[in-house]
């Protein structure tokens, strides 16, 4: 049998040709919708209730101008335009995969209600986001407890009234019947990247990468 002498270049060319050829038969891996779950870690994360943030807590963070987290509204654009919590960015769930959120950022998410928020949290967890917090009860609970809080004893709850007013809410002082007061949501049609009330925030444009 004749021995064929191949140079390194020839061998590399053949490897490239073979791997290129086999690529024809594989699916595109770039749009794969698979996620890998670390079951133990996820179970512990679910047990841990530290990742649930009450609306009042979030309200205080926003008033303090806390900037070590990103507030993300995962509802669709229309719902976001109607009303969003001051300072929230909109990344609908369907676009989360290609968003520029970093896996190690501290992210607080909310959706319509408790169930949807929790489901969204789980999705982000499976995508490998490490530090995801969720707003207890979603935006429904936010509206109920911050924007239209029912205040029975106005003396002891002055702080809550103040917080509510900060976010343009209407505290229902002494209201027994919820129907009595007209409920109009405060307008938050502010620029999308809106700095929190106090302290300067340095978010602005996403970091540029590459050469």
């Amino acid at each position: 049998m004749k021995k064929i002498n191949l140079s390194t270049n020839n061998k590399l060319a053949i490897i490239a040709l073979i791997s290129g050829f086999f690529a024809i038969f594989f699916n595109t891996p770039y749009e794969s919708n698979k996620a890998i779950i670390n079951v133990d870690e996820l179970a512990l994360n679910i047990i841990d209730s530290n990742n649930i943030i009450a609306p009042i807590q979030l309200a205080e963070w926003l008033i303090q101008g806390k900037v070590d987290f990103r507030l993300i509204d995962v509802r669709d654009e229309k719902q976001y335009e109607d009303y969003f919590i001051t300072g929230a960015e909109n990344i609908p769930l369907t676009k989360i995969k290609t968003s520029e959120l970093l896996r190690n950022e501290k992210i607080l998410i909310y959706s319509d209600d408790e169930l949807k928020t929790a489901q969204s949290w789980l999705l982000l967890k499976t995508l490998g986001y490490k530090n995801i917090l969720m707003l207890k009860g979603g935006i429904d609970n936010w509206k109920k407890s911050i924007i239209f809080p029912i205040i029975s004893d106005s003396k002891n709850q002055e702080k809550l009234i103040e917080i509510s007013k900060h976010f343009g809410g209407t505290p229902l002082v002494g209201a027994t019947s919820e129907i009595a007061v007209s409920r109009e949501l405060p307008k938050t049609n502010l620029p999308k990247v809106q700095p929190p009330p106090s302290s300067g925030e340095k978010k602005g444009k996403p970091k540029r990468e590459g050469c």
Partner: protein
Amino acid sequence: MMAPFYKFDLFSEEFSFIIAFIIGIGFGFFLERAGFGSAKKLTSQFYFTDMAVFKVMFTAIVTAMIGVYYLSLIGFLDYNLIYRNDTFLVPQIVGGLILGFGFIIGGYCPGTSLVAASTGKLDAIFFLLGVIAGTFGLSLIFSAIEPFYYSTAMGKLNLSDVLHIPYGIVIFFVVLMALGGFIAAEWVEKRLASKNVEVKDEKN
């Protein structure tokens, strides 16, 4: 999914600079060893007497393409997290032409000028001063050309999206293109080399 490592939080931003430094040194070293620290070698690409630049570039493209494809396929790499530039078609063509002129006149591209300057080549050091002056100049007139700079924005483009063919087939054709290019390049090199020899012989 594990990679890109930085975006999956395998190391901090500070540590990523150290890694970038090591990779950068390695990149520069191999460029130097491939002869890319020499303006003679680089410019001979434009006269088709030495196609090393073409071959190295296309090899890099094919290697990276196959690597990214198969690493994504086995679920190691999340392609969507790799940073890619947006396409601004017309400004990028104009920019490419300007860079090309600079390349022919100066004998280096920005990366290779750094490689050559680090080996102490005087022409490369002057080239680098030119790069810095040019960057500074651009920053001064930037506001005037900003509308043009961001014109014809097309977002992130892939060949597969533009041509509407599956990724795998694009990959196969790019590999074929590269191999065809290599064969053609070697043929051109041989032809021009023999011609140059003939010219020399006539003179003697």
